[in-house]
């Protein structure tokens, strides 16, 4: 090589050629690198030396996001459970409403209708003769009570007398020639309306030695009527308790 060195160019700059190639390559790489770095800074607004830190932060955030997503899923599940519970509670409320309406019907706070009987009782039309006890020609509350008790016994589900609903607190008593029911005065003719199986009610009332027979025997006009549809009005009196309270609760 040294021998073949051309004499025309005695100092052929091999080192210059090599340096040129190397510098070209180095310049190319450096320029590419700088251009890329500038682009990175332009896009990410940070030098590439901070990429690792950013990557770690990103990983942390991603892990946090994953855990938050899991929390979101859990919370959604809870919401679904609560909604289902709320719906169930609402259906519970509906059930309670049904129960309340049933209890109100049972307690006598709602008008009721159904098949039943109508019992019409009147005082005896027999004229009172001298020496007669007038008590024997008028109906007493015990007579009415007897009829009502027999109706209950025969399976009547609701009873009213002259538009007064018989409830648990209903009392019947006599005041002079009138009868008090629910503290309201009722006068003859007494019309007792009872809801229940008409055949059974009538049969029970008309059984031997039953109230119907006895009343008729004493000369009281009595009309029994089984009907497909009778109406019993609601209780109209006061519903307030002033003294009692449910047992088991504190004073």
């Amino acid at each position: 090589m040294t021998v073949a060195r051309p004499v025309v160019r005695p100092r052929l700059p091999w080192w210059q050629v090599g340096l040129t190639v190397v510098l070209a390559a180095g310049g190319y790489f450096a320029a590419t690198q700088i251009r890329n770095e500038l682009e990175i800074r332009e896009h990410l607004r940070i030098p590439s030396t901070r990429l690792n830190e950013l990557a770690i932060r990103l990983q942390k955030q991603e892990r946090r996001r994953a855990s938050l997503e899991a929390a979101v899923g859990e919370l959604r599940h809870q919401v679904a459970v609560l909604e289902r519970e709320a719906a169930e509670r609402q259906s519970g409320v509906a059930r309670m409403n049904r129960e309340v309406s049933e209890l109100r019907a049972l307690a006598g706070f709602t008008p009721l209708e159904g098949p039943g009987v109508v019992v019409e009782m009147r005082d005896s039309p027999r004229p009172i003769e001298p020496g007669d006890d007038p008590n024997k020609t008028i109906l007493h509350y015990t007579d009415i009570h007897a009829v009502i008790n027999d109706l209950w016994a025969a399976g009547a589900e609701a009873i009213a007398i002259n538009g007064e609903r018989i409830i648990t607190r209903t009392g019947l008593n006599c005041v002079g020639t009138t009868i008090l029911c629910n503290t309201k005065r009722i006068a003859p003719p007494y019309t007792i309306v009872a809801i229940g199986d008409p055949a059974r009610l009538l049969a029970h009332l008309q059984r031997p030695a039953g109230p119907a027979e006895i009343l008729r025997a004493f000369g009281f006009p009595l009309r029994l009527q089984g009907l497909e549809r009778v109406t019993v009005p609601a209780y109209r009196g006061t519903t307030q308790f002033t003294i009692v309270r449910p047992a088991g609760e504190g004073p």
Binding site: L19, T20, L23, A24, G26, A31, T32, Q33
Partner: protein, 122 residues
């Protein structure tokens, strides 16, 4: 002396204009390779000034140093060790050394010329 400068400018121009994208993850490695290249180039300049330039050593040094520096950085990443810092420090020291020697060599050349000129005139 113009040829290497023209080469350098040409390389820079191509690098700036070419749309080559270095993947984000490799930016660190290429940076170290460039550091190694700069070291090699300065070493070559110094060798030339000291009249012991060898093209084979120069070219092989350029390629091997750059490649090894990048490899070292990659290995450091694998190990979870900032090994590329070692390469950065080593090359930086060498670059400073080379720059220092080049400066002295250039001064030597200059003083020799001044002395020669003084001798010639004086």
């Amino acid at each position: 002396m113009w040829l290497p400068l023209i080469g350098l400018l040409l390389g820079i121009l191509i690098g700036l204009l070419s749309p080559v994208e270095i993947p984000l993850g490799y930016v660190k490695y290429t940076a170290i390779a460039i550091l190694a290249a700069i070291d090699t180039i300065l070493g070559g300049v110094r060798a030339q000034l000291e009249a012991r330039f060898d093209l084979t050593i120069f070219l092989s040094g350029f390629i091997i140093n750059a490649a090894f520096a990048a490899l070292l950085a990659g290995l450091g990443d694998l190990l979870g060790l900032d090994l590329y810092l070692g390469a950065v420090i080593a090359f930086s020291i060498r670059i400073f050394d080379n720059v220092g020697f080049i400066r002295r060599d250039l001064l030597d050349v200059y003083f020799r010329r001044v002395k020669r000129a003084r001798d010639a005139t004086g």
